[in-house]
């Protein structure tokens, strides 16, 4: 049996999260679909040959509930829509389950539900099933939301973390770190006024545009908890490749760079909620960038790196000075309850 206790870092998306998934969840629940460990599970029901469905679930515990650019409701819809989209599936339906703390204001709950409605409309999905539980005062922190998304997938597509190939290019759809720093500011932990907003957005329409421009999109992933560094580390491991980032190519807003410098954070580990990483055959990169840049959430898309044969399972950063360093998985906890 596992020893010890749950630490905040078990929820960081970093090394301890990975260990918890391996040692507790995968160890007991292992099956071919779960073991793939992409953003959404993809399966073909035995009774529906030729059909591929995607399923993904997330709980949202962000604190505070409202922050510049969004709230927990918008996050709970977009986060799950995006996970469905990251396997190339078209998100169709969501379920939503609420854990409410006794004493929570109903008017705030209503605002959050309205926000979920707006985001669902923008994404073109419907919330078709729900549940509410109430726990006593002091047994939760306001409210937590769990959403699950179901999507439908073109049987021809093969997009996943294990599909990156040497020679592919790595694209990011826009600036990194906006969500994490906006939430920090809402917590009053920034120490200055950044005017930053979270980037939360539904990315499924962006993915649809990208899929229309290329049949050679190998990996899609939204770098949420743990940021770009964690997402690319996972992909390098899943694909058994090396990924090399160019530091000077990383799009970072000045306020995010300033906040990270002040607080000692690396923007590569800061959560995003409206960005995607795409790993694509080199010959299609210009086509894909062109369609991305015509969309609302992809206008700042750029190439930030390349996939190489080695070092296997490693993410490297080539700095502006030409040196190269390993960017490892996050070992501890950086920002609890960021999503």
């Amino acid at each position: 049996m596992s020893k010890g206790h749950v630490l905040l870092a078990h929820g960081s998306g970093g090394k301890l999260s990975h260990d918890l998934i391996q040692d507790v969840f995968l160890r007991h629940l292992s099956n071919p679909v779960l073991d793939v460990q992409d953003d959404a599970a993809v399966w073909t029901p035995a009774l529906l040959p030729g059909t591929r469905l995607a399923l993904t679930t997330d709980s949202y515990v962000v604190q505070p509930l409202f922050f510049p650019g969004g709230d927990i409701g918008k996050l709970a819809v977009c986060g799950t829509v995006n996970d469905v989209a990251m396997v190339g599936a078209k998100p169709l339906y969501l379920s939503a389950s609420f854990i409410l703390e006794e004493g929570f204001e109903l008017s705030i709950l209503e605002s959050i539900v309205q926000s979920m409605k707006s985001s669902a409309e923008e994404a073109g999905v419907e919330i078709i099933s729900g549940d509410t539980k109430v726990v006593a005062h002091g047994e939760a922190d306001g409210l937590y939301i769990s959403t699950t998304g179901v999507g439908l997938l073109d049987p021809e597509l093969k997009i996943g973390g294990a599909e990156a190939k040497p020679g592919d290019m790595v694209i990011i759809s826009g600036t990194i770190g906006d969500h994490g720093i906006a939430v920090l500011e809402a917590r009053g932990e920034l120490g200055f006024q950044s005017n930053l907003e979270s980037d939360i957005a539904p990315l499924n329409h962006l993915v649809t545009a990208m899929l229309s421009a290329s049949k050679n999109i190998h990996v899609l992933r939204d770098p949420t908890r743990g940021g770009v560094a964690t997402a690319l580390n996972e992909i390098s491991r899943q694909s058994g490749v090396g990924i090399i980032l160019e530091e000077d190519s990383l799009p970072i807003q000045p306020a995010v760079a300033a906040a990270c410098e002040m607080l000692g954070f690396d923007p590569l580990y800061i959560a995003n909620e409206g960005k995607l990483l795409a790993i694509i055959s080199q010959e299609d990169v210009e086509n894909v960038l062109a369609v991305m840049r015509k969309t609302r959430y992809g206008e700042n898309a750029v190439v930030i790196g390349v996939v190489e044969d080695s070092p296997h399972g490693r993410l490297l950063l080539r700095t502006g000075l030409g040196s190269t360093r390993i960017v490892d998985v996050l070992a501890g906890e950086m920002l609890p309850r960021i999503c």
Copy 2:
């Protein structure tokens, strides 16, 4: 906007739960699938004509986490499997999302995950997607689990809360109130030793057997939170019929009856987690009872009432003395965190 604050009774499954769903959730999120308000949502994806899928979600916050007959993990699998089965669908896949409190023992988490695995195996479903979030000590009570279930449905079937018809009979698959009283005992609130166990069980195989015996099963529902009284009140409203229960027919274990008498509870409102109500054409009742009684979880199945044309939307109880009283929806909170 809604006024006031969340009360424990908003989670009871009774009148306040109903109001919260209507005034906050359905008011903003209304759509034809969500509005049906059965145990699981049923839909046909536009891209898959002829296919009917079922989706349902629940959060589980039961306290304590372990109790005679089960634990929160078994509950999180069986509860969601049963909701899928209650629309006549075959449950296929589950997702599971965990909210863990910092400091929670990893060995306990592992026991709960093992229990989920056993229940999933018994039900014949796989857990294919998951998520873990961690909140600080004092921001949750150990752990909460949200599960979502996906199932596949025979396109010919029409089972739902609105399908009860005058002349139908009401069947219960076994004794009522076992889960609620077992959890109360585990909390040390019973005052005597009952030796009761929760009835938690996956009911999908029982449903499959019933469907093989009759094409005239109109309603299936598992009387969980709020018990038999709440479930039948909902059905009487959805179908616009009156339902008349025969008090002397209700199967109740002596220990449950004794506990209810001591504590002033009505067993009709106590939660069950391994029982189903079925509303069936009179001519098929004997066939259905015969197959139910051959199964592990249906061996004590009996008829407990009939559906009549009136009073519309009302549940009545005919007592052993021949008098009849209205059994209303639960107004307050009886047992918080029962599931």
